[in-house]
């Protein structure tokens, strides 16, 4: 057999022993266990390096059922369950925005998606909140104003990250930390017990939402509208439930798409907040993007190898013979670029 021109050596470059299961970046073969370590380590390093999540803090994970946010849930679970010294130390909650109305799903399909998501969320044991996109119609105008910046968990001028960690560790010692995996929830959160089956919104509300989307003239505008409404619903949930931090699952690929899309849309001024690790435009609620260093490929492989559950939903509706949105074009461009020139 002639050697295949486009194949890579089959031994893991990290441990030098295992059979490589995938190629990361440009020509780096990794075996499955080394890949897992690499993936998990990257998440913890992201949080550790950036030092914005304080110990004991409530963090709302915004999830979509998609691969990146599902992988994010798994990293949080893994991180919380480690031995006490290296354990992640925040208190997670989950929020899911059901968008079936604008994704061409029938009521039955929406119910099915909701049921699947609820199973997924319940399995984590974290408190979770399910919202319908229709609820955006009820958002107060105040959502558009950034909330007052919090001055830190103590209410006085906030402690530095190091101080917060030190005092947390001291507190733990006093309380006799038993090292159990999931931290207790505050009394205001509903624990994930058997909830009422979520009902879909009124048909009238769904119609009103759809009218709003149909009025958006282009696929690009529609995409922007969806993202904006979703973000506002998530921020509102965070505020209402006492979360000062929100984690979203934007991967590197997704962040890059956003960057170029926003440039195309004339939003260059917002590049830093739109794509950075932290986003403080909402004032009292900070958005954190711990998945932004993972490529879509890494996430897909991780989810497959380690059985991370996901729920697939159809894309945002488009009209017939409509030109693709800028988002889609940019995604197509970037993903193609990644194929041909992986070092870009």
């Amino acid at each position: 057999d002639r050697p295949c021109p486009r194949s890579h050596p089959r031994t893991c470059m990290k441990c030098g022993q295992g059979t490589a299961a995938l190629v990361i970046r440009v020509g780096d073969p990794f075996c499955r266990p080394c890949f897992r370590e690499y993936f998990v380590h990257k998440f913890r390093a992201m949080l550790g390096k950036n030092r914005v999540i304080f110990p004991g803090e409530k963090v709302l994970l915004a999830v979509s059922g998609g691969p990146a946010s599902s992988a994010m849930i798994r990293q949080v679970q893994e991180g919380l369950s480690r031995e006490a010294a290296k354990r992640l130390r925040f208190v997670p909650g989950l929020v899911y925005v059901e968008e079936g109305a604008v994704r061409r799903q029938s009521p039955e399909q929406r119910e099915q998606t909701l049921a699947q998501m609820e199973t997924l969320l319940q399995a984590t044991g974290f408190p979770y909140y399910l919202i319908h996109l229709e609820e955006a119609l009820e958002l107060p105008p105040s959502i558009l104003q950034p909330g007052p910046e919090r001055s830190g968990p103590s209410g006085r001028s906030g402690p530095s990250y190091k101080e917060a960690v030190d005092s947390f560790i001291q507190q733990q010692r006093q309380d006799g930390d038993s090292g159990t995996s999931v931290p207790g929830h505050s009394s205001q959160d509903t624990p994930a017990g058997p909830p009422a089956t979520p009902r879909l919104p009124d048909a009238a509300q769904t119609q009103e939402l759809l009218r709003g989307f149909e009025a958006a003239g282009t696929a690009t505008a529609r995409e922007e509208l969806l993202q904006m409404l979703r973000t506002h619903l998530i921020v509102q949930t965070a505020r209402a439930r006492g979360y000062a931090k929100v984690m979203t699952g934007e991967s590197l690929t997704r962040v890059a798409v956003k960057l170029l899309t926003n440039l195309s849309l004339g939003r260059g001024a917002f590049l830093a907040v739109d794509t950075g690790f932290t986003d403080q435009r909402h004032g009292d609620v900070m958005v954190v993007r711990p998945m932004r260093d993972y490529t879509a490929k890494e996430i897909a492989f991780y989810n497959h190898f380690f059985s991370v559950p996901t729920v697939v939903v159809p894309p945002l509706f488009t009209k017939r013979r409509e030109k693709p949105s800028i988002h889609q074009l940019v995604e197509r461009f970037l993903v193609g670029l990644q194929e041909e020139f992986p070092s870009t």
Partner: protein, 101 residues
């Protein structure tokens, strides 16, 4: 060779939507003089399994960028990509990474 081979293709991450929502296909590829490599396999899939919008799955003779290919649970980049020669009972998995959040 002229052995007919059985393969299993799976479609994930939304790729299944292009194949009538069917995630798993077990097929016996017909005997033919040309070797069954991934290149030929893709041609066959396009002709026989792909129900709609071929451009969402394929680009030229390969898969569209954003579609991952795993051969027996390994990245096809390790196996020669389109040139990989299929063996009996091989499992090929296609995962779409587009629309992933």
């Amino acid at each position: 060779s002229t052995i007919s081979v059985v393969h299993c293709f799976c479609f994930r991450g939304g790729a299944e939507l292009l194949f009538d929502g069917v995630k798993k296909h077990q097929v016996t590829l017909p005997c033919q003089p040309e070797p069954w490599d991934i290149r030929n396999l893709l041609k066959w899939i396009k002709q026989n399994l792909l129900k709609e919008r071929p451009e969402l799955f394929m680009q030229g003779e390969s898969v569209r960028p954003g579609i991952l290919v795993l051969i027996n649970e390994a990245d096809w980049e390790l196996m020669g990509e389109l040139d990989y020669k299929l063996q009996d009972q091989d499992n090929v998995l296609f995962i779409s990474t587009l629309h992933g959040g």
